[in-house]
Amino acid sequence: MSDRIAILQPAMPLSAVERGATVVVRRINGGRQLRHRLYDLGLVQGAHVRVLKNDLPCPMIVAVRENSRVALGRGMTLHILVSPLDCSANGGEPA
């Protein structure tokens, strides 16, 4: 499988994103079934994702496409590569 997009864009795993930050999904690695489940929940390339919770060792909670809340196990968050959204569009939470 090609990593073309991942190479072109600065990308980091979702697990490294801090609470409150909004990022764009660049690439999803992993098995077909796993990717399929993520697509169903709105997590595809280009989707905006806001991190609501990122506390080790619990799963992460993210807001996908603004209105949907999805809990993701830590293993999975390593396979979702994201890059920061333009600062102007960043919808961080108040305090």
């Binding site: 499988m1 090609s2 073309r4 997009i5 909004t22 999803i28 077909r32 079934q33 796993l34 990717r35 399929h36 489940r37 993520l38 697509y39 169903d40 929940l41 709105g42 595809v44 390339q45 280009g46 989707a47 806001r50 609501l52 919770k53 506390d55 080790l56 060792p57 619990c58 799963p59 909670i61 996908v64 496409r65 603004e66 209105n67 949907s68 809340r69 999805v70 809990a71 993701l72 196990g73 293993g75 999975m76 960043n90 919808g91 961080g92 939470e93 108040p94």
Partner: protein, 755 residues
Amino acid sequence: MTAIIALAGNPNVGKSSIFNALTGAQQHVGNWPGKTVEKKEGALRIGADEFLVVDLPGTYSLTAYSAEEIIARDFIIHERPSAVITVVDAANLERNLYLVAQLLELEVPVVLALNMTDIARGRGMTIDIEELSAQLGGLPVVETVGNRRLGIEALKAALAAAAARPVAPLVRPTYGGALGEELAALENAIAAQDGPAAGFRPNWLAARLLEDDAAIVEFMSAAGRDDLIAAARRAQVRIEAATGEDAETLIADQRYRFIGAIIEAAVVQPTGKLTASDRIDNLVTHPTWGLPVFLLVMWLVFQFTAGVSAPYLDWIDGLINGVVAGRAAALMTAAGLGGWPAGLLTGGIIAGVGGVLVFIPVLLFLYIALGVLEDSGYMARAAFVMDRFMRRLGLQGKSFIPMIVGFGCTVPAVYATRTLDNEKDRKVTAFLATFMSCGARLPVYVLIGAAFFGARATSLVFTMYLLGIGVALAVAYGFKRVVYKGTPPAPFLMELPPYRAPHPRDVWRQAWTRTRDFLVNAGTIILGVSVVLWLLMAIPAGRDAGRFNDVAAEDSLFGAVSGALAPVFAPAGFGSWEATGSLVTGFLAKEVVVGTMNQIYTGAADAPAPAPDSTLLHDIAAAARGFAEATVLTVQEMLNIIPRTLNLLPGLSLAEFDWLGAGDAAEEDTTGLQSALVASFARSAGSPAAGTVAAVAFSVFVLLYVPCMAATAAMRHEFGGRWMAAQIGFTLALAWLMAVLVYQGGSLLLRLGVM
């Protein structure tokens, strides 16, 4: 012919509220043909037209990755419903439209029910409904608030119009670039030869082939079209070379682009806001506070199910074993049927079936509690909180949900494993769920507890629940270390639906439907078992043993067979034919254990008679008074949860309510059975004290051995005969071992004078 309407939608979008609102009380639950996924159907009348509404399983998409998705898809393709209502969560419109896009691709008439618009508005979203409809090619869009029954008439009108003049959707996602070219080529190849195959449309088939959809590849292969499969494989390679992505990713991506354009045109929404749900989640899914909240919720569920349901349980028990049995016996005698027909009715049917009716309140309260957990959205949070603990046992958080359901009934728990993604997790979870004490085991503990521990009966009950959980955890650990070494649990991935106040009507309807279905299913088995059991107990085992219906129970055929098996249980202290016999019938359904004991120990001997001077009117008045008292006690127990919960805090000791005075506990109805039990266990174990230990061992055996026929059948259906056989063998061996351990250990302590 009645036209069929299908109801499709994501999980947690209020689909069942809409279904209830459309069909009212006329609904029933069955299984999909050949599958054990719940199927709900109901009748709907609009004017002079009659419709059958079929509630499809809640799914996020229509691919071949799960049984639910295949069921939903096959139903739409093969049954060709007159219209599909797709229920959409307005507050989560974008993600929900993903399923709608796939329905459009199936080219069926669709009516969109835009549900939960109140929540969407509360979040500051504005949805232009006319624009949404226009963007979707004029698709009928109806605004609804299902749990408040708003918009249902408009939905019916739209439905009638759509069914009367079915129009296939005018728009659907379009696929461009390399994907689009390959799709068109493949579509032509499919269309060129046979035309639409078995109701599938060529463009839809082409897309599924490119996605490597397992069910469609299999279908094409069976149809002898391996050439098309090969062509699709070549196309996949070309697509990936050209774009760097596989076809499935591109299809998902372009569907979301199609949706994105619609949202852009029809929806205005604030971004970056925290909802009320998010704020609750800050506490409920907190790394430290999540667990105490979870434990508190579980404690409340237990209190509600076991404590609050008790007054009604006592009332029904007294009613059936007292008034009903007595009246029936008197009637039969008066009608000149005093001999074996009266015996069959009171000793067989009423004793057996009555034993089950008694725990309607327990099941009802349990299903209400589970319904509240599900509808409020807390269930998903429980899975979240438990994930890190389940992971240590080689499972993931979602496995916890079937286990909670297992406290109600093992059968739905086995089906609930369908939400898990991998086979190993499903098998292990279903296996563990059988150790969760189901509602049918509860009456056994209640009976034994009352007979041997009197006022401290709930301690035995609680211990059995804890033991079941403990055994499940130990077995899970064993699986992780021995059977599935090195297989990591499936990754945790789950939508967290927004918190909602559960609607009483929907919770009640679901609880009642589940209880009723259980009663109908279990009741049929139990009625049969009761009659057969009565027969076996009436037939003498030998020529000298006695005459039909005039034979001591231990000399009957049933007594003889149970007696032959009994020595197996001698090491566990309950090697009597009576205990063994009730375990044998308990394999059919655990609730039968109590019924059988009732039949064996008290059945023919002393059918309770009503007081000689009591008139029918008097009986009815007494029953009504009993019901009123039970209602008062139920309210009291509900309120008592508060002091009982606060008393868990160290240093607090609040008094509980006691409105009717402590002396009212009407225990007289089962004392006959209870003293017979105490005597029998003391006899088989050698002494009264040892008998008590044997009774605990007996409870342990009931907890752990083969759940019941229905649960075993569900296991076989889901995981095959070998897994079922392994489960029967394992649970029997484990139950026997644990029972022997408890009895021998307890006896040793007795001899040492510790207890």
